[in-house]
């Protein structure tokens, strides 16, 4: 079967589709997040054992880690749509990138915030210049930069393309930045290698965490689509279909396009 993807690349077709998907994703997200919270709070061990016995507050992991994952994934999505937009010049891709950015920034912020509140009881400090924390902070700056640049430019087309270029430059730089922070001393990098402890984690915790991640993921879809619909309406004000839509709601009068005439004389 061959689907005409370009049909869906038009804002006019995508607008109602997004409208139908929003409640679907929204409800699923809420359900999954509630389930994950329930599972995380009631079905997991009361305290973690091992060398560093963590008290009840380890449960913040069910928000913290999924949020951190989402923040990185969403940046990839953002840069991906930006690249598609720049290459194929499709308006919808830029709009998608814009719609995703605030959600990504929010997850980054949540990861930082929950991390800080976790750090207080477990490390005795809100903040430490641990490589991972620093990288997350820089990711936050990249999101903020993207949004700041976009909103600093009046002309929406220039704003889209400039912000998209920035997102791509950011994506190229990101691995280098992360790596330089993780390995500030190239003489003995191997010693600093950080190992993820996810493999050894208890399965209940894993279930709760993965469910929460999925919930966050759907939440990202829902919020991005809501924002996307707003953006589409604003950008396409002039087009016939939006005018019909607005007219149905008894909306405002739209300007007519200017006419032009010409005469030739010798």
């Amino acid at each position: 079967m061959k689907i005409n993807w370009f049909k869906y690349a038009s804002p006019a077709t995508f607008y109602p589709v997004a409208g139908r998907l929003v409640p679907l994703f929204g409800i699923a997200a809420v359900v999954l997040m509630l389930f994950a919270l329930y599972w995380g709070f009631l079905e997991t061990p009361e305290r973690l054992g091992g060398t560093n016995p963590q008290k009840e507050y380890y449960r913040i992991i069910f928000i913290h880690v999924p949020a951190a994952w989402m923040s990185m994934w969403l940046y990839l999505v953002l840069a991906g749509w930006s690249a598609v937009g720049l290459v194929f010049n499709t308006r919808l891709s830029f709009m998608l990138a814009n719609a995703v950015a605030p959600t990504g920034a929010v997850f980054t912020f949540i990861a930082l915030w929950t991390g800080a509140f976790w750090g207080r009881p477990s490390w005795g400090t809100y903040w430490d210049w641990d490589p991972r924390l620093t990288s997350e902070l820089i990711l936050f700056f990249l999101y903020i930069g993207f949004m700041a640049l976009h909103s600093a430019i009046d002309d929406s087309r220039r704003a889209d393309r400039a912000a998209a270029l920035l997102a791509i430059v950011g994506l190229v730089m990101l691995p280098i930045i992360f790596w330089s922070i993780n390995c500030p001393d190239p003489n003995n990098c191997a010693a600093l290698h950080q190992r993820s402890s996810l493999g050894k984690i208890e399965s209940n915790i894993l279930i709760a965490m993965l469910t929460m991640t999925l919930g966050f993921w759907l939440y990202s879809f829902a919020t991005s689509f809501v924002r996307l619909r707003g953006i589409i309406l604003m950008r396409e004000q002039d087009s016939a279909w939006v005018r019909e839509l607005v007219a149905d709601d008894g909306g405002a009068v739209q300007p007519k396009p200017g006419e032009s005439d010409r005469e030739v004389s010798a």
């Binding site: 700056f141 903020i144 700041a148 600093a152 922070i181």
Partner: protein, 223 residues
């Protein structure tokens, strides 16, 4: 091709020489920022020695960034940039010429003034040489990366500070390895070579990638 490159390079350097203060102010900004810190944090020798490389590099970052704001702005305001876009010459070449001129005027002087700054922070002989070398390799990367940001924020109100928001995070690797090389040079057994290898790799990558990216950004901004 080469003729156009030289023409733009010469033009920018002539312009800067007409207003010699421009060149000097970047330098003085650097000196002032470096000298402010001891006022803010106190003047214990040990503390300062530890701080030295970081402060000098952060100051270099800030100085380079501030000067960048004007990289395209003047040309944009008077319409010469528009003319460059329409010149029928590869835009990345023109951009590269402008960046090179910019570095010669604002980055290179920092390299030569660095020993004076190092003195204020009680750094010793080797550290001073390493600092000069790291600045010499690192500051062109700053100029090249910064050009992208300067092109993106062209003509925006509050562009200067927006530029710093966009660019400073991207400067981090250069800061880490630049300052790292100097810090490490104080330890006898440690080797600074990997640091310079990395900085050199950054420079090469930036030389290849940054001009086309800036050119693309300029075309977007001029629309």
């Amino acid at each position: 091709m080469l003729k156009v490159f030289w023409c733009i390079l010469k033009r920018d350097i002539t312009l800067a020489m007409r207003r010699r203060t421009d060149v000097l102010t970047t330098l003085f900004f650097f000196i002032i920022v470096v000298s402010l810190f001891p006022l803010g944090v106190g003047s214990e020798r040990e503390l300062l020695r530890e701080l030295g490389p970081g402060v000098v590099w952060v100051a270099a970052l800030l100085a380079s960034m501030l000067a960048l704001e004007r990289l395209f702005a003047a040309d944009y305001d008077d319409g010469t940039l528009e003319q460059m876009l329409l010149a029928g010459q590869p835009l990345s070449l023109l951009v590269l010429a402008k960046v090179v001129a910019h570095w010669v005027l604002t980055g290179l002087p920092l390299v030569f003034i660095a020993p004076l700054m190092a003195m204020q922070y009680a750094l010793d002989g080797t550290a001073v040489w390493v600092m000069m070398a790291s600045l010499a390799v690192g500051t062109p990367v700053l100029s090249l990366l910064g050009a992208i940001g300067a092109a993106l924020t062209l003509g925006l109100r509050g562009g200067g500070i927006l530029l710093s928001l966009l660019i400073l995070p991207l400067y981090i690797p250069v800061l880490v390895y630049g300052a790292g090389a100097v810090t490490v040079s104080a330890i006898q057994i440690a080797d600074t070579q990997p640091y310079f290898a990395l900085l050199g790799a950054f420079l090469l990558a930036a030389l290849v990638l940054a001009p086309p990216a800036s050119a693309a950004a300029l075309r977007i901004s001029m629309e």
